[in-house]
Symmetry: C2
Subunit: 569 residues, 2 copies
């Protein structure tokens, strides 16, 4: 798209917008304001939240086991990404060569004499970064964050990259360099060198045992060895997957908005939610990227390098979401085309433009009496921790974790899916042949149910063990409420399989929302180096044997057999 055609596009938008002919305000309205999916949103809601929840939240009273110790470490690993493989490999290489973001001399810092010079006011459809001016128009389609990149249109990327620090990596700088079209004038460079606001300054403290995968936003996983110890993962060590800064919530002014097609709009305070009958479900929540690092061993994939600890199981207590919606007049049987209706969820976590974290599930889930979604204010019998969505998180059992929105602010019955990037672009699984360059985001549905997986928690790859009987332990889980029929272990690359013992599972119910913990006595001798585990679910689904044929560039639903090599002495 040339600058000319974009300006024409801008002009066509102008007709739809109340006023202004200057390109900067146009983009501002287009990208930070309500888009079409916000049919049920009034601007006052959005404002309401930012006003109501800006006061500082008191950690010590709500966040159990917080300590004064500061264990946060800096990390440049990606929180949400979708970088090209080439860029990823280049970045890996630069990492290996000790070339880190901080030490790279960026081409943006230099004037390029062969390029023209512009004033800030002239770069309406471009972006700036340090000394560079970039036309990223053609990159928008490939950007995992979609048009969100255009929040920075006509301005500097720097304040946005403060919020999404995942971009501060050599491979991202390399992509950006391709789009450079000019230099930023000296006076504008100086103006932009103001200290940036730290959007992550109010994060809660985290337990030091969590293996940090990114700092801003915070993402940390439970060491798998801890997972196998208890059926219910303790709150403090439950994996944390945040997409944005943790919002500060004033519980006194907190309210949950409910609105949309064929229901009456309503607003509930936390106390109102607590008046509904209290329900508890045992449910496993798993990140769509759990075990990505296993898949990346077959071929690098882009995203947080989770091992097998981006999963946890808890008792979630709160109000039944169905009860809450029923009170608002919701009847899933009333919709003539339920497959075309979606239940959207929004969180209080948002970026500068006010765009919040969002997700949705098809209304058809609500037509199943066996589906038991909960608006949880307790996790394992304690107040739900800040990192897990205090004061209220929707728990959608059997569905990928990304849809169980934390810090829940709004539920919308809509005729379309959530338009958030996490629904539309992220958390989708493409063919092994698809790259970031060739991806058509509409060619795959948003992940809902996740496939069967299993993991060895008791032993690590390369671990030294003595010849003889070893006790192996781990978890197995399948989405969609499917149970685990059995877990099998092989120590000879599948020539024979031993059936493991299921030592803990949730009590019998219509659906299986919780994982099972398994254990097996395995007699190993010096020939038995490789140990494989696989599980079979009640739909008789099996895991893929390895990652080669199921690899996807985002490293999602990484569920092949878990294989480790032991060092038997």
């Amino acid at each position: 798209m040339s600058r000319k055609s974009i300006l024409a596009f801008n002009k066509s938008l102008v007709r739809l917008l109340p006023s202004s002919s200057h390109p900067i305000p146009i983009w501002t309205v287009l990208l930070s304001g309500p888009s079409t999916f916000r049919v049920h949103e009034s601007h006052s809601h959005r404002k309401c939240y930012s006003q109501n929840h800006s006061s500082k939240f008191n950690y010590s009273s709500e966040h159990e086991n917080a300590s004064g110790e500061s264990w946060n470490k800096s990390g440049i690993f990606g929180a949400f990404t979708g970088l090209t493989l080439a860029a990823y490999v280049a970045w890996r290489k630069s990492e290996q060569n000790g070339v880190h973001a901080a030490t790279v001399r960026m081409e943006s810092e230099e004037i390029k004499k062969d390029l023209p010079t512009y004033k800030s006011s002239e770069v309406a459809i471009w972006v700036t970064f340090k000394r560079g001016v970039y036309d990223v128009t053609e990159f928008v389609e490939k950007h995992p964050g979609g048009s969100r990149i255009m929040m920075a249109a006509g301005a500097s990327l720097e304040p946005f990259w403060e919020l999404y620090p995942v971009h501060q990596r050599p491979d991202v700088f390399q992509i950006l360099a391709k789009y450079r079209i000019g230099n930023l004038s000296e006076e504008d460079v100086l103006e932009q060198q103001q200290p940036a606001e730290d959007h992550f300054k109010n994060e809660p403290k985290r337990h030091p045992v969590l293996k940090q995968r990114s700092l801003k936003p915070f993402n940390g996983e439970t060491p798998p060895s801890i997972l196998a110890e208890q059926f219910y993962t303790p709150n403090d060590v439950f994996y944390v997957r945040n997409h944005l800064p943790v919002p500060q919530v004033d519980v006194k002014s907190y309210c949950l908005e409910i609105e949309g097609i064929s229901i009456k709009s309503s607003s509930l305070r936390l106390d109102d939610v607590k008046k509904f009958p209290k329900v508890t479900i045992a449910a496993t929540i798993q990140c769509g990227g759990n075990r990505r690092s296993d898949m990346s061993k077959a071929k690098p994939s882009a995203g947080l390098a989770w091992s097998g600890g981006a999963i946890g199981n808890a008792k979630w207590t709160g109000a039944s979401l169905k009860d809450i919606l029923k009170k608002a007049g919701f009847d899933p049987k009333k919709y003539p085309h339920p497959e075309k209706v979606h239940v959207q969820f929004e969180g209080l976590d948002s970026d500068q433009s006010g765009e919040c974290y969002g997700a949705s599930i098809p209304l058809t889930y609500f037509l199943d009496e066996n589906f038991e979604p909960v608006l949880a204010y307790e996790m394992n019998d304690k107040s739900i921790p800040i990192d897990h969505g205090f004061p209220l998180r929707v728990i959608l059992p059997g569905i990928v974790g990304a849809r169980s929105v934390k810090w829940l602010s709004r539920i919308i019955i809509s005729n379309q899916e959530s338009q958030s990037l996490w629904q539309q672009r992220d958390y989708k699984v493409f063919s092994p042949s698809v790259t970031m360059e060739s991806v058509d985001f509409n060619s795959a549905p948003a992940i809902m149910d996740t496939p069967v997986t299993s993991y060895i928690c008791s032993h690590e790859d390369g671990q030294v063990v003595a010849q003889g009987n070893i006790k192996m332990q781990g978890y197995a889980f399948s989405g969609g409420g499917r149970g685990i029929v059995r877990v099998e272990i092989s120590k000879n690359r599948g020539n024979t399989w031993e059936v493991a013992t299921i030592k803990h599972k949730a009590p019998s119910a219509a659906r299986n929302w919780a994982w099972v913990m398994w254990e097996a006595e395995v007699a190993v001798n010096k020939q038995d180096k490789e140990i494989w585990v696989k599980a079979v679910d009640t739909g008789y689904n099996q895991q893929p044997e390895d990652f080669k044929n199921v690899w996807n560039y985002r490293g999602l639903v990484s569920t092949a057999y878990h294989k480790i090599t032991l060092n038997v002495k």
Copy 2:
């Protein structure tokens, strides 16, 4: 179990039974009469059916496209089996050496002078076959048909094996020989040489294109090349999977009985069923053993040697099963533990003892509004053919074909699963390490939803094709109402994958009960010998890459990638 202990066991049973101390009547009562699961059955029902439906059924008026031609061929392949692998291999060997059942000199035909001689009346807990007397007590646990073998207790196996001719194979004779304990007296041998009744004398005519996998009962599959041609498989060539002789049904006296926990017993004639609102669903029905012959290439498995044609897709029209049950007062929400309640279905097809074909599904299915079971009296807009269940078949979409009971005679709401062998022993998937010798039938659940599968219909293994572009076609299907996200083709053992085009699928709905037809233009040259196809379903389940690690001795849910080798000229 010694004869003595069995007699003691018999005696203990005598206390529970009204009268008789003679072992033959005891076994007769124990094995052919009602067992505990028939809590809701009255003997009059069973009698009612055999009386009402004994008149000869008129093929020509109900069976479309029947012709006068007799194309039935004799076949000794098994209908339901579960033979030991060793026996199977021995049988294969004998087949290869040209040793067929008809030409084998059975040891049963000879007197064994080292063994004692008994009168028929003395072999109450044993069975006879030709000249032999066998104590099969210890085999009962291993018999795929379970205690059904004891229908013959105290008598000859011959009349039963006329009904279950699958037993007339060398490998079965070998198993039997292990249990020989004596010779049958001359006068009893003569008495047993009466001409046997042919239970299969009233079978409908079948289309000659069906690839017969067994004659008695009839089992035949659609040639895969025909499957790819149409989204709805024509009735005449739709695969037939019968477990017993086809019953003769007099539609005038036909009635469907409904009974069980918390509903009122009722009886509906076909006309009553037709008064309910007419519903139609497009649903794929697939045999649990579809593609068994593919799995058997990895390692022999026991059962009908289906290729990829034991599957078909049709429009099923009839009454909603939910409407019918509702009328009988059924409300699935009324059961405090729905996961412990089952909806059983019985067919009119039965064996000598009166035991009918049966299956069940958990009541929890009925708690899902998206589940659309149909009592079908039409198939693809025509009266449902005899071989497919005339006058009424229950269609349970998304569930393995074995549960969609044909010639439906009764529906029972029960606190246990169907106790039929097809629910309790057959149609269960065990670990690759389990053999017929080691199987614990309780260690696996009855198959319900089936996993994702795909198949190349347009080309056969070994087919000669010219170098250049070839059009490949096939089907992909997943159980549980999960849709197909995509179908992928590889011509280089998974190094790259091409996404196929979905050329036909059912209109958008809450659930996907029907398969999709796919096609792909594949450019092949002389290096591209092996073509692989795989599919991904909406739960992001993938097929296993090959059979080695998912092999099971019964050859069920054989869903690994379909791989064919082309001969490119």
